[in-house]
Point group: C2
Chain length 256, copies 2
Amino acid sequence: MKQYKGYLIDLDGTMYKGTELIAEARDFVIALKEKGIPYLFVTNNSTKRPAQVAEKLESFGIPTTEDQVFTTSQATANYLHDRKPNGTVYVIGAEGIRHALTEKGFTIQDEDTDFVVVGLDQEITYEKLAKACLNVRNGAFFVSTNGDIALPTERGLLPGNGSITSVVSVSTQTQPVFIGKPESIIMEQALEVIGTPKEDTLMVGDYYDTDILAGMKAGLDTLLVHTGVTTKELLKGYDKQPTYAVDSLKEWMDKI
Amino acid sequence: MKQYKGYLIDLDGTMYKGTELIAEARDFVIALKEKGIPYLFVTNNSTKRPAQVAEKLESFGIPTTEDQVFTTSQATANYLHDRKPNGTVYVIGAEGIRHALTEKGFTIQDEDTDFVVVGLDQEITYEKLAKACLNVRNGAFFVSTNGDIALPTERGLLPGNGSITSVVSVSTQTQPVFIGKPESIIMEQALEVIGTPKEDTLMVGDYYDTDILAGMKAGLDTLLVHTGVTTKELLKGYDKQPTYAVDSLKEWMDKI
């Protein structure tokens, strides 16, 4: 069995479910740390800063520094920086994406912007959507932090950022560039951050359509863990299988 | 030239532009009234009651009774009534659609509904979209008053109801039944209301993609007037042409 030199790891459904820790996942990360193997959490959650995510993981007993968290907000800010450093942007989204963009040198404003970025915003209003549409129609480059159609909660599946993004894409008939998993954009940046060679890095996650596809598209080996969305039964419906699939990360402990 | 016995007429772009009357359109309707030819205004605007629409038209000097206005909210309420009279419905939308549904005997509630209806709501919130998604995922039949992707305003093109509807359709992966133009559902009901034979009724409007297509799909002759969205230039791009096209309804006065 191949020994991987680095791990990219999903959060929700892989490390925890909402507010509930997955204990075997914590033990898995502790083992990585003890063996000195680099790991980076890669998340489509655009609403929180890396420090806030690290704090949540630490509160579960999962050893995490701020630098071990890579969010789609950071990936979005980097992507925009490559296109036009210090540009102007109209943002729909919460603190995480706003912080990432301003930290990277972007100016957030309402009109005549170079970019429109849509990230999850549970305080969405018609006026925010209107401003996003007007800027896109005026030529702003349109980016969405992630295309997740649904957000799993204790109430059920609520609208995800991909569905909110569709207001702007349907109204303006302009497709955005999506940054988060399953796109390669976030994965290529995450590989740079972790610094291990692609062929020696494993992508770990619970959701085929985002985590596993992201790994495959980026040319990584993949490990699907059945603690979240994609059950064994659902996995049978996919043509291309992940490199590995386990019921729990406990099964992976002797392969680290 | 054929003499039509009834006219179905669009509003925005045909009778007025926002708050501005199109004087030739007023004269055209006055002529219809004087000659005793039935006419019915057919609108995708779900936000106002027929009485409110009639009042606006009267304020422009366009002779209109409440009964001469047929909104997509009325068409939606009739459609739901045919599927399940006195059912329960979760509604995103303004006064017009709420009034039409309660008047028709429906009970508006938040959970466990038979139907979800989405109409234009400029006070949209994430919570409203969440409730719509949860009801659709729980099996509620999903209906949208109209699929207009954009709303023309003095600020530019803002998100139309079709784009707001897409949040629910993308998130739940469930397509709604659309009621308004260009769908036949509203047109068939409008024909019943006006009461003139299909072959003797003319559909008049400014927008090919809604008004003219609606007429064509319903098997009516169509008259495109270039006072709104579809210019002469744009019209050249369509394969199937309307029965007639004029720059202004003034040109139609001697054909009534």
